[in-house]
Amino acid sequence: MSGRLIRIGVSRGLIEMRQTMTTPSDLIGYAFSPVLLVALLFLIRDEKVPGSDLSLGAYSLVSSMAMLLVIGSLLGMAQYLAMDREDGTLLRAKAVPNGMVGYLIGRIVLVAGTSVFTCAVALIPGAFLVDGLRFDVFTAVTLLWLAPLGLLALMPLGAVLGSFFESVRAAALLMMPTLTITGISGIFYPISALPGWLQGVGQTFPMYWLGLGLRSAFLSDEPGQLWRAVLVLSLWAVAGLVLAPGVLRRMARRESGSLVAARRERALARTI
């Protein structure tokens, strides 16, 4: 892959980032979950995590960024892929030399950018509402490796999942398992409140470990098991990176004008 191609892809991502950040309906979409979250934090601002001095608000604010990252990058990637197949963006990329590589780099930049933006919308006002967050060198260092590793675990996986959905509506169904996993990943409440086997299930998914990593970065008295977070997230990243190129290539190979036209017919039939 040449430097020129990477530059084209990155500039593509930045152009689309600017477009989405100046589209009011998109902005509302990105801000919806974080604003809801901050409202929730306001309601529980005085409560404590059971058995500790930690404010439940601080705990939830930090952990729920793991949820926002999963929604933003895994679901975001899957939905973009479904959407781009439906409207022909992917086929357009296929018609251009090296267009698929440029397209994917662009999508990675865009999805990473919007995910981080969503987290910032929650974190910045949230930090004024809750007590006990720390911002020091350790926070910065942890975020510097955790955020890229998390995105690397989530985006390829999202791309693989997105390849299996023929329409944006079908891809939106991914929200249901995501919310179920949120329930067993210790996002709004410590996982220790759950039965042991359910804790085990929750700990197989990236969301739990992202939450744990984020808590160790922002909350001083959260016991860290950071090496386990690194291990699990790396495994997911490797699995995604091994699977994604083959699955994406297979999906791209099957794209053709008549397929896009057929999907368009279906999409139009739904709206009538």
Binding site: S11, I15, Q19, D87, T89, V96, S256, G257, A261
Partner: protein, 300 residues
């Protein structure tokens, strides 16, 4: 009669040095259904070839195979000397593709998208020149989702040619156009083939469009090419009879003749100055086309 057209076409179908498309015995089946059953044709550099046929004749399938977007079931295909099934990115950079329907990049601005897509090529058209060529200069800053159908299509063509392709594919380029937009579009294609030696392969089910745009028309029916030639050649060789009208001594006459020229020569020899209002009308391409398609479908 049909046989003589195929023979005339075959002479032009021998691949030469400037052959850009070479198709021999192309076959495509979906399950049990054979969509293409032995398509043969070639196209040369700078040539505009129309693939004309009724809906479901296999036009889009053919063009998608040539574009490398669909794998064929059998036969020999070379596009710019390369098998599309294994074409690399360099090969891809010499092709321009305009598909039936795009809705992509709706948030991008016209100029912005052309600049971006041009950057994938070594020598793209300068955006300003390209916009001028397709008549979109005034819309350079317009968001693509707000373009009219005709403007959107012209943008699609601009994108198709931004990399200065040697061969441009146009799949049903003017479906859903009003007559004015259609004429503008035809002018654009003429301008395009004037400035560059780009070869164009277009599919259409619109006879009038094929006649206006193409140097050569291939009629595809029931999965094979049933006739090929210029509009003129097709109507001359297939339909045969022409209609001759004239007047003599204030009386009007109509006669159908296979050899209209000979008939008129005799007419003048016999009556000389007495002949007036002479009119010779060759069978229209439409009649030719309908007949060819009917014959092919009947023979199936």
């Amino acid at each position: 009669m049909t046989g003589s057209v195929l023979a005339a076409g075959a002479a032009a179908d021998t691949p030469g040095a400037d052959t850009v498309i070479e198709v021999r015995d192309l076959r495509m089946r979906y399950g049990d259904k054979e969509v293409l059953s032995g398509v043969d044709f070639t196209a040369s550099a700078g040539e505009v070839v129309a693939l004309l046929g009724p809906n479901g004749a296999g036009k889009s399938t053919t063009i998608e195979i040539l574009e490398g977007f669909r794998l064929r079931s059998g036969g020999h295909v070379r596009v710019l000397g390369v098998d599309p099934a294994s074409g690399d990115e360099h090969w891809r950079s010499r092709l321009g593709v305009v598909l039936q329907s795009w809705r992509d990049h709706g948030k991008w601005r016209v100029g912005e998208l052309l600049r971006h897509l041009g950057s994938y090529y070594d020598e793209p058209w300068p955006v300003a020149e390209l916009l001028d060529l397709v008549g979109l200069t005034a819309s350079a800053g317009t968001v693509i989702a707000r373009l009219s159908g005709g403007q959107r299509r012209r943008l699609d063509v601009a994108i198709g040619i931004v990399g200065r392709p040697d061969l441009l594919f146009l799949d049903e380029p003017t479906v859903g156009f009003d007559p004015e937009a259609r004429r503008d579009f035809h002018d654009l294609i003429h301008r395009l083939t004037d400035v560059d030696s780009t070869a164009v392969l277009l599919t259409t089910h619109d006879l009038d469009e094929a006649e206006k745009l193409a140097d050569r028309i291939l009629i595809l029916a029931t999965g094979r090419i049933v006739a090929s030639g210029s509009a003129d050649e097709l109507s001359r060789q297939v339909a045969g009879e022409s209609e001759v009208r004239w007047s003599r001594d204030g009386e009007r006459f109509v006669h159908s003749a296979a050899d209209a020229t000979g008939f008129v020569r005799d007419l003048f020899r016999q009556h000389g100055e007495a002949i007036g209002d002479l009119e010779v009308r060759r069978a229209s391409l439409e009649e030719t086309y309908m007949r060819l398609v009917r014959d092919a479908e009947g023979a199936r």
